[in-house]
């Protein structure tokens, strides 16, 4: 039980995908303008990650390893992710058209979000079992959501700040991202798994 909790905490804060491994930077910078949109982006990513993890684990354990097809790992991962993203897209389109338009191109682009592919690759690399994998996927997604929501919160505040001209836009965004990563480094003394 303790170990499972540790996996989640590790994925959420200590080894945060965005701020520790620098994965999934594209939506992290692209959709982090409003808290609301970034929250839903994070939830979509979390959903895809949480579902991807067990499916990938099952495919990996029962097909790829058994038939000695480990070299297909990347391809199967991508197929699974793409299919799940499609599902999420349909779902969001059905439930909230406004959200669908806010996320725009970034929604199908979750497919190519490297954070998701990496969570799928990591869980194999680290030899997690099914439950651990699912929790790891979920934790990674929550970590991504956390990072992007914090980012969006800061950027929303920044709209009212008097930013020097040279630092406006992308420059200040990247600096904030750097500071956030530094802040999250504070967690790295905690036990990781």
């Amino acid at each position: 039980m303790n170990e499972l909790l540790l996996i989640i905490i590790s994925a959420v804060v200590i080894n945060n995908f965005v701020l520790k491994y620098f994965l999934g930077i594209c939506p992290f910078l692209g959709v982090s303008k409003q808290v609301e949109a970034s929250l839903s982006m994070g939830m979509a990513v979390t959903f895809v990650m949480t579902l991807t993890a067990p499916v990938v684990w099952l495919i990996n354990t029962f097909i790829l390893v058994k038939f000695d097809l480990r070299f297909l790992e990347y391809v199967t991962d991508i197929i699974v992710i793409a299919a799940l993203v499609q599902l999420v897209e349909m779902f969001i389109r059905k439930t909230s058209h406004g959200l669908y338009r806010t996320l725009g191109i970034y929604l199908p682009l979750i497919t190519t979000n490297c954070a998701i592919l990496f969570s799928a690759l990591f869980l194999v690399l680290r030899g997690y079992n099914l439950i651990q994998s699912t929790l790891f996927g979920f934790g990674s997604g929550v970590g991504f959501t956390l990072a992007i929501v914090i980012m969006a919160g800061i950027r929303e505040e920044l709209d009212f700040a008097d930013v020097p001209e040279a630092l406006q836009g992308a420059a200040s965004t990247l600096i904030i991202a750097g500071f956030l990563a530094l802040a999250f480094m504070g967690f790295s003394g905690m036990p990781t798994k």
Binding site: I63, T76, I79, L87
Partner: protein, 269 residues
């Protein structure tokens, strides 16, 4: 080896099949009861589908949506021109004003072959060159000829011929992408049927222009005086034609001392 090939093919195929079946089922369940206006589809099918963005909306579908919502003018599609505007208007049952077709024109006699003042060996890119003392041309306002407009043109209408930028008037739709990318602002959109052009962009004083370029506007103001329609004005040492007033009589071109005003559709040397 053959076995492995077969197994991997079967695995991927099977996986694809299962996932696609799953998605098909999900699609049926989650299908959006389209509240989308059927006219959007109809308009989208009329539009050229070039996704050039000249209308100011993302892709033709975005423009179609904006049209139905009344946020865009029916004649907003520039490449489609009058024909598309008419079709769109008939779908939306609104009146449409004909929009004059405009084409891009490089308002520099030399179009990239102006005199240079130093050897430029950086990126082959006008915007990069412009950052370095405004480019290597002696005239600060001239076309740099490195072809950013060529790259950005969605219709392949711009080419480089013997170091000069040529714009194919047949292909040019007047989308204005070259106008916005040109760091020198030397490209302008001009009504297609107008044939009188002032091929200079220099806002330098006449004496300086005379020194650095034989075919530059020196701001003498003769054209302003001779124009019977008062269509030409002088601003910042540069003559401008008001195309609404211009009747293409060609008097200005005759009188221009540096022959920078030309009456022709295709500028030939």
């Amino acid at each position: 080896m053959g076995n492995q090939l077969l197994v991997s093919l079967l695995t991927m195929g099977g996986l694809g099949l299962i996932l696609s079946i799953g998605l098909a089922i999900a699609n049926k369940r989650l299908k959006v009861e389209v509240e989308e206006d059927p006219r959007i589809q109809e308009i989208a099918s009329v539009l050229p589908g070039l996704n050039c963005g000249a209308c100011g909306f993302a892709m033709c579908s975005g423009f179609a949506k904006a049209l139905v919502e009344g946020k865009a003018p029916a004649n907003g599609c520039i490449p489609g021109g009058e024909e598309v505007a008419k079709q769109v208007a008939s779908i939306l049952r609104i009146e449409v004003e004909a929009r004059e077709k405009k084409i891009a024109k490089i308002l520099c006699y030399h179009r990239g072959k102006a005199r240079t003042q130093f050897d430029y060996q950086g990126l082959e890119n006008c915007r990069a060159a412009n950052l370095l003392f405004g480019g290597n041309k002696t005239c600060l306002y001239s076309c740099l000829g490195l072809g950013d407009c060529i790259e950005v043109c969605p219709f392949d209408a711009i080419t480089l011929v013997n170091g000069k930028i040529e714009i194919d008037e047949e292909r040019c739709t007047g989308c204005g992408k070259c106008v916005s990318i040109c760091p020198k602002g030397v490209v302008a959109l001009i009504p297609e049927e107008k044939k009188v052009h002032i091929l200079c962009n220099s806002k330098d004083k006449g004496a300086i222009v005379r020194k650095i370029c034989k075919e530059g506007c020196i701001g003498c103001g003769i054209c302003v005086k001779v124009c019977p329609e008062e269509a030409i004005t002088l601003k910042d040492n540069l003559a401008y034609i008001d195309y609404e007033k211009c009747t293409e009589c060609g008097i200005c071109a005759e009188k221009c001392p540096t022959h920078v005003i030309q009456v022709t559709s295709n500028i030939e040397q």
